[in-house]
Symmetry: C2
Subunit: 344 residues, 2 copies
């Protein structure tokens, strides 16, 4: 099902080209400087009952409590703040209906950069309202007849604006890495770091930061069981496009991991494991009931994998990124009302 994809620089993408050199801990530290006082330094949550269940000390980095409700704010803000003033003034373009759109809209607003978000005309009203609320312009398209990338590129070309992609971009990756930087500053002795994988920006940035600080730390990625984009790419050594079956993990439906993230993952991570939708939904329910935290399915995927037993924990200190909390109220209501078993 999966087919190779040419590297980013051979595709017709406008916007900032990936940096020539590899992204390093210095880039993550520079991002942390830009985010200081702007992003939330999110808490690290613990639970004695969870530790007892896992047989290890679990440290949950609570990115669902980040601005816009997800880690995406870090990368979006760092990318826009890294632009020269004249480029920033010409504006930012993003195409997304998810957390990246909110992140770009919010970050651009804070940095006085005009933002244009290309969203499907049938996007949920609540997401549309939030994006408009941050002061962004929204351009709608018909997702069945139009291509969001070409609309975005046309707008960027007309205005001289910069496209910020959601993961295949060095400043986005460095920004996401600040989540792990903060976690390691708080829990230096971490043995394992478990991170959700969609396009790969979060795990790439986190692996760079965490392994620069502690080279013996093992980084493990988690993707939906039915989406093998990360596992296939690592096996074949190149970016592949996969078909994504229906999954509740809507933040990880991306059909590929990016070129820059893959290069980092090949170097820095131990493996990617798949996680079952039902195990994730039971974890979302358990987080609400046991730890009083509202987390979206993708946000709970790494913790679900830890509890599933497929990862060798070794009884030590396990960092887990809880990546986002933007679940629709009705979807959470359905989960709370059903009888999925508590995981701890």
């Amino acid at each position: 099902m999966s087919q190779p994809v040419p590297p980013t620089d051979q595709r017709s993408t406008s916007g900032a080209a990936p940096a020539p050199g590899p992204i390093g801990i210095d880039d993550v530290r520079a991002a942390a400087g830009r985010l200081d006082g702007v992003a939330h330094r999110t808490p690290v949550l613990r639970s004695r009952n969870l530790d007892a269940r896992a047989g290890a000390r679990i440290h949950l980095k609570a990115e669902h409590l980040q601005r816009i409700g997800a880690f995406k704010f870090r990368g979006a803000y760092n990318a826009i703040a890294s632009l020269p003033a004249d480029e920033r003034a010409r504006g930012i373009v993003a195409f997304s209906s998810g957390n990246h759109a909110q992140a770009i809209a919010c970050a651009a607003g804070l940095l006085d950069a005009p933002a244009t978000i290309v969203m499907p005309s049938d996007a949920p009203q609540v997401k549309l309202a939030a994006t408009l609320g941050y002061g962004a312009e929204v351009v709608s398209y018909d997702r069945y007849t139009e291509d969001r990338r070409s609309i975005g590129e046309r707008i960027a070309g007309e205005r001289g604006a910069t496209i910020i992609p959601p993961y295949d971009h060095p400043a986005v990756i460095a920004g996401q890495g600040t989540a792990a930087l903060e976690l390691l500053e708080e829990v230096a002795e971490l043995d394992v770091l478990v991170v959700p994988v969609g396009g790969g920006g979060l795990i790439a940035g986190c692996a760079i930061a965490a392994r620069a600080i502690n080279p013996r730390l093992r980084v493990i990625g988690v993707e939906p069981q039915g989406r093998r984009a990360a596992r296939d790419a690592l096996e074949r050594g190149e970016v592949v496009q996969v078909e994504v079956p229906r999954t509740a993990l809507d933040g990880q439906q991306t059909p590929e991991v990016g070129h820059l993230p893959l290069a980092v993952m090949q170097r820095e991570i131990e493996e990617v494991v798949g996680v079952d939708d039902l195990a994730v939904l039971a974890t979302v329910r358990s987080l609400a009931i046991r730890m009083k935290q509202v987390v979206e399915p993708s946000g709970a995927s790494a913790l679900a994998a830890v509890l599933d037993g497929g990862i060798e924990l070794g009884g030590g200190d396990i960092g887990v990124i809880i990546s986002g909390g933007n679940i629709a109220p009705g979807a959470l209501a359905d989960l709370l009302g059903n009888d999925l078993e508590l995981r701890w």
Copy 2:
């Protein structure tokens, strides 16, 4: 509707008698020493959107993230830890079907004290299971034909065990005060502190701690609109028993405030305001959707009152105690699924 009640020491209560002198900041600091490394030092949560809506800086002390999911752990642990070893060994008795029962069961387990909890035979299975899970013995009674107080007193008498009441007890009050002590340590410049009032143990302890540190700080209590136990007691200068109409604020259905709490409240607090059930339920829903926090109705009552506009905030730094998070999953599901407006 309300009638005076004789002071505690004239009623037939066994168990520890209230201390002769007033409770002071030193008692709260001693409690903090006992709780160090045992209770969670709960985070103080902020939200830019909430601040903008309230026109003030709101600091939410997150006691729904405390052990057993509510502030009650602080007072229960402090009371049991304060007992001489021989008294502790003879055991603890509590009668409650709510957070106090869980708190006593958990704290007694940690301190190796046998605990007996007198619970109605129709208590929810989940509460029964949790209490048993902490290692406590549960004695059931028929709430329509039997009196839990006399059952508790008989057991305490037979075993030489100590009854720990939920609020009318100096060590319980001092323990609850550690929540405000921690908040003031983090936000020294607090102007107002808003606290839910049930039996009054939490607000009494918090007022003692907060006003000893900052005497200009104003403390305001919040009780259900239809339950005037605190307002009537303050007006009349004595404990009164009130009829409690049906309310969603099940943690504040107590028909009285205690004698010790009332004495502190008369000296230290500015006023108690009533809050409407629907305003509280909308606040619970907003906390889940906007701040990703699961809070029980009573736990959100103080924040609901702040947003209702009935408290003079003065635009400063407002501390709000979020007192608990133990809402039934089905009740939260109902709230998420309905269309109560977002409060911010």
